[in-house]
Symmetry: C2
Subunit: 384 residues, 2 copies
Amino acid sequence: MRDVSIIGIGQTPVGEHWNRSLRHLAYDAIAAAMQDAGIERADALYVGNMLSGEISGQSHLGPLIADFAGLRGIEAVKIEGACAGGAAAVRIGYLAVASGLQDIVICAGVEKMTDEVGSRLTSALAQAADADHETVHGISFVALNALLMRRYMYEYGVRHEDFAGFAINSHANAVGNPNAMFRRPITLEAFKRAGMVAAPINLLDSSPMADGAAAVILCPSEQAREFTDDAVRIAASAMATDSLSLHDRHDPLWLQAAQDSARRAYRQAGVGPADIDLFELHDAFTIMAALSLEATGFADRGRGWQLAANGDIRPDGRIPICTMGGLKARGHPVGATGVYQIVEAVQQLRGKAGDCQIPNVHLAMTQNIGGSGATIVTHILEGG
Amino acid sequence: MRDVSIIGIGQTPVGEHWNRSLRHLAYDAIAAAMQDAGIERADALYVGNMLSGEISGQSHLGPLIADFAGLRGIEAVKIEGACAGGAAAVRIGYLAVASGLQDIVICAGVEKMTDEVGSRLTSALAQAADADHETVHGISFVALNALLMRRYMYEYGVRHEDFAGFAINSHANAVGNPNAMFRRPITLEAFKRAGMVAAPINLLDSSPMADGAAAVILCPSEQAREFTDDAVRIAASAMATDSLSLHDRHDPLWLQAAQDSARRAYRQAGVGPADIDLFELHDAFTIMAALSLEATGFADRGRGWQLAANGDIRPDGRIPICTMGGLKARGHPVGATGVYQIVEAVQQLRGKAGDCQIPNVHLAMTQNIGGSGATIVTHILEGG
């Protein structure tokens, strides 16, 4: 296989883009990434997206977006892995370049959620769970995560407010990110009095639905220098899965696919958790942040919440997470989120993360989660 | 890159499977393919599907099907390219094995369409076209193809009944295929009096909506002999795209993506149309069969219909097509169709196509079309 690097990144602000359609958002991110890489053509496009059919009445995003981005004719296809579709698209692009069959590959994620509202959006998102054994009973996606959070609190004797540090950190970090949806800090008091969504998950445990698109350009590492001095090497790429249904898990409080994909990634990169300088994890809900830290080796079982409580996850902490605001405050356009995580990690590795910059970043890890842990894609990126 | 071969195939009968859910159908095909290859594990699963969200309320098929097939934990993700999603999934699997990153890969296609009916199914299928510029005006997917057929008849002075040979050939071939949906021959008279769907496309120009699943197992060619003496080599794999909207095409009667993907495939395999022994093409409508033959070099522009009229496409003709019944008579479970085509080509190359067997088959080509030609995936397979 060939070694693969990222030579360009692009993103739109995350928010409510009522004046931009799905294809416009994707175009904005792809055009920015192509300009960043200094390229005018590409060999292939892999698009992460979950809800274009349900919300925009549009399947078949591959050729649509390739054509609209001025790349008519190239290999182009949509990759769907619920909320992990973005990183899955990068994973597929990685395979394409590694194979030697494609040289310049665009991996994009795009989602337009705010055209839909209320119960229909809740219903569309619940398609990430098991339709025959979970959502058929009427449970929503938030409620499934609430079951996990309640169980965690019970098993480990943790209070709801012990999760506050995750939301507070993400919001504080988003202040410096011009593309973040919510750029204002929140307090512990605000967290404690936030409206309940599905007990014990309240509004400030939850990432917001949003529109947005992000893109990265991949090429063989040996060619990267032709395009940029700022290339970021993909030191590892791994995807793992677990049962879709929570009740089928051997241990619902253990993200097996996070552990499996992280282990593969650590092995491929030849590193361990102690070597990682920052971790863009999938804080769709605060409980997911805690579980992700545990399964990837940054905290012992049942102790992930402590990293939030003691400040380890802050920009100056032991393992900074969600350094540009995370899903919680940058926003969570589901099929695009995994690409945003990678774009942000590249910004950090390039030393161009502006007010969000973490000092001395050499290795960054990203982890994108689909469903309640059924698809997990982990990447380790290495700065130049 | 590594050379890639197919070491196992599986399929369900195509039809109305009201007693089998999406996951059951996929399981049936995957289990059959794994048994055929003599394997009990795999490294990755790529699933082609278009309509699981719209019809079954279920996204996130990768982990769902991996788990249900006894493969919990492996890399697994859904690939969506409208009606070309099946072959696109094989294409992605090909990249994964070629890269050296995965050894044993399952590529499956599954679709369950008959749980939905009438206008809602028509609406879901129309998502293959451009939502903002085509379907917004109320046009259905059949009607878009009808525009192409009418234009073809006008430009080239062809009568509707001149397309009959495509439908008659596919139905005649399906008689010998136990997995085909319609196993009875049709006559020219029946074709001429068939009910109109969207003029000039009538019922016997059209492939039927159906449920079904098919799967192939890929591995590096150098390892294939460990599993089977019947391995089929993937001599070429290529995907190309075109504009989603028909009105954006430079020439609506030319399937540019068919030409582009076929040219790449011919080049990769080092062959030309004259070397191909059979061609599993995408006869979703008879017009698509004619256009596909022209763009891939089997007929001059405007002359594709003549190959049906003069018998060249029949099992004993110059270029047999749809040898197991094609989309028209085997049936068209959209996201699975591309995998069915490859499974059938493997059956022929192994000399195990039963009553459908074509003599002296060494090279087979398959071509899977999404939308009205927006995504086209071409494979060339080589027998042992």
